[in-house]
């Protein structure tokens, strides 16, 4: 049996070479792969949420007369406050990234915690809204409207929750001294995801809640 040579070239890490890794490794596009991948992911997410919104619109149009529907359960003033909270979390997110880029670690931590708290407030509001809807008689399997509504807003809520986990991870990394202006792109990617979740809610709030029923 012959020995098979390992085709993988020997990798010399920057540490081996005796200097710190570059902040942005050279690529054919001049853009970092992580950021390109994040934008590709967000582009694909448009299709996911597009499908969920389209299914909701279809379901609402097929809701039989007399069944419990949007007019019976929606509380627009309450959802407006939730929407405003999520919108403002986008502001705190960019302020966190801005602080990190300037090397202001303490301010970065304050803004990142504020973002997570605002996201948590939004999720708490959503959980409360769901329990009220169930009390009013609208469950996941009550009718086609309930199924589509809970699926759409539930998927969005899951995205916000994942975003909060990422924000907390960034906070922990910062507390351990692993975040600096040199690797601020990690936080920028989390921010892109967070803002995307925000713009999806901008669409949901208008199309699902505010459009005349």
């Amino acid at each position: 049996m012959t020995d098979v040579a390992d085709p993988t070239p020997a990798v010399t890490t920057p540490t081996d070479a005796g200097h710190a890794p570059p902040a942005h490794p050279p690529t054919t596009t001049g853009l970092t792969h992580n950021k390109v991948a994040m934008w590709l992911f967000l582009g694909s997410e448009c299709l996911l949420f597009g499908a969920l919104i389209a299914v909701y619109m279809f379901a609402k149009s097929r809701l039989p007369a007399g069944e419990i529907g949007p007019n019976d359960v929606f509380d627009i003033p309450f959802t407006s406050v939730s929407s405003f909270v999520l919108l403002m979390s986008s502001l705190t997110m960019v302020l966190a990234l801005s602080a990190l880029n300037r090397g202001e670690e303490r301010n970065f931590r304050i803004w990142i915690v504020a973002t997570a708290l605002l996201g948590g407030t939004f999720i708490a509001g959503q959980v409360y809204e769901f329990t009220v809807f169930v009390d009013l008689g609208l469950g996941y399997t009550t009718n086609i409207f309930g199924s589509a509504f809970f699926t759409l807003t539930g998927f969005h809520g899951a995205h916000v929750t994942i975003g909060i986990v990422m924000l907390m991870s960034a906070l922990v990394a910062s507390l351990r001294g692993r975040l600096s202006p040199r690797n601020a792109e990690t936080v920028e990617l989390i921010g892109l995801y967070w803002h995307f979740v925000d713009i999806v809610w901008i669409l949901i709030f208008t199309i699902i809640y505010l459009f005349p029923q």
């Binding site: 942005h24 690529t27 596009t29 001049g30 853009l31 970092t32 950021k35 390109v36 934008w39 590709l40 967000l42 582009g43 694909s44 997410e45 448009c46 299709l47 949420f49 597009g50 499908a51 919104i53 389209a54 619109m57 279809f58 149009s61 627009i76 003033p77 407006s80 929407s83 405003f84 919108l87 403002m88 986008s90 502001l91 997110m93 960019v94 302020l95 990234l97 801005s98 880029n101 920028e188 921010g191 892109l192 803002h195 995307f196 925000d198 713009i199 901008i202 669409l203 709030f205 208008t206 199309i207 505010l210 459009f211 005349p212």
Partner: protein, 120 residues
């Protein structure tokens, strides 16, 4: 002197050449500009919520749809252009994202039309 946030043409004003030449390095807006954008977004949201009140319903559903869609698109563009930095970043990111939006809009508008949900 801070740059005044411009309205929907935000995406049109981007500087893709600079971004292409220098990778994804770009200048970020100032904190003051971010706060201005947030205030604009808050005002647009307040306008949206205003359409919910009974007195506005005299306008008719068609007018309310138009107003809400315009406000929604404005908010969307402000967040994407300023908070997601698409106004300042590489044109490649914009193309990737817009491709996803256009594809989703096309596919699902055709689907909803096929199921005749528009009441025509």
């Amino acid at each position: 002197m801070t740059q005044t946030p411009s309205a929907p043409e935000a995406l049109e004003e981007a500087a893709p050449d600079a971004a292409a030449d220098h990778g994804d390095e770009h200048e970020h807006p100032s904190d003051r500009q971010y706060v201005k954008i947030a205030l604009i977004l808050g005002a647009l949201t307040a306008l949206e919520v205003f359409t919910y009140f009974e007195s506005v319903h005299n306008l008719g559903d068609a007018a309310i749809y138009v107003v809400l869609i315009v406000l929604m698109i404005l908010k969307f563009i402000y967040v994407v252009a300023w908070f997601m930095h698409l106004k300042f970043d590489s044109v490649l990111f914009r193309r990737v994202f817009v491709a996803g939006i256009v594809l989703a809009l096309g596919v699902y508008l055709v689907m909803l039309t096929a199921f005749r949900i528009w009441g025509v």
